[in-house]
Amino acid sequence: MDWLEDELRRALAREEPPVGFAKRVIARSARGPSGARRWLAAAAMVVVAVGAAGAWRQHQGYQTKQELMLALRLASAPMHRVQLEVKDISQ
């Protein structure tokens, strides 16, 4: 092995991280997800909840519309009959 490789090994030898590094990493890992991640998760839940509520409202509106249309159709048949009778009498 040549002198340059020896010198490179010396120059690039492993160095210890700052004091307390391992403690800080272990403590933060034990706390779970970071604040930012927690906020992101909460925001995602809010978006899902708002979306679900909107979809439910839309579904309810559609159902109400269908019921109203059915009621109108049912009511329109006798009305049409009455209208025809009135027309006959007037003629």
């Binding site: 490789e5 020896d6 010198e7 490179l8 690039l12 160095e15 991280p17 391992a22």
Partner: protein, 175 residues
Amino acid sequence: MLTEAVETGCDFRALVRQHQATVFSIALHFLRDRATAEEVAQEVFFSLHRNLHQIETPAHAAAWLRKVAVQRSIDEGRRRSRRPQVALADVAEPAACIRPGDPLLSELLRKLVATLPEAPRMVMVLRYQEDLEPAEIAAALEMPVATVKSHLQRSLALLREKLARCGVGESGWTG
């Protein structure tokens, strides 16, 4: 998670203590900035904590940490690449005489390694910090072994040339 750790021998605390110097030094020697190296090393260990269930053996943990440290350091280096970097020509030649084993020579070499492009710089860090064989470096960097060997040869030749211009070398040490 504790049961898994007992079964695999991969206790998170033990892994942090055992590999903190490796992970921190890969980032430090690649980025040449202690504060950034500490941030990168922390992120690597947080990532390990999230993925501990995938780790099968202590050897797997060591290889995993090395690979993630390499990737995170390269990513951080790319983010910082918009800022001005040290060029080979900008590295000052030593004013005083330098002898083998001199801390000044170590510092000069670290500066010169920092001027290498991304891939050869990481190859040099893994070869001389971690003492990895070209095949192991190739696996960590996902590149062919021949490319690793080529990076090593060219980088050594470049450093030798620069050092010779500084009057540092086998044939004639300064002083």
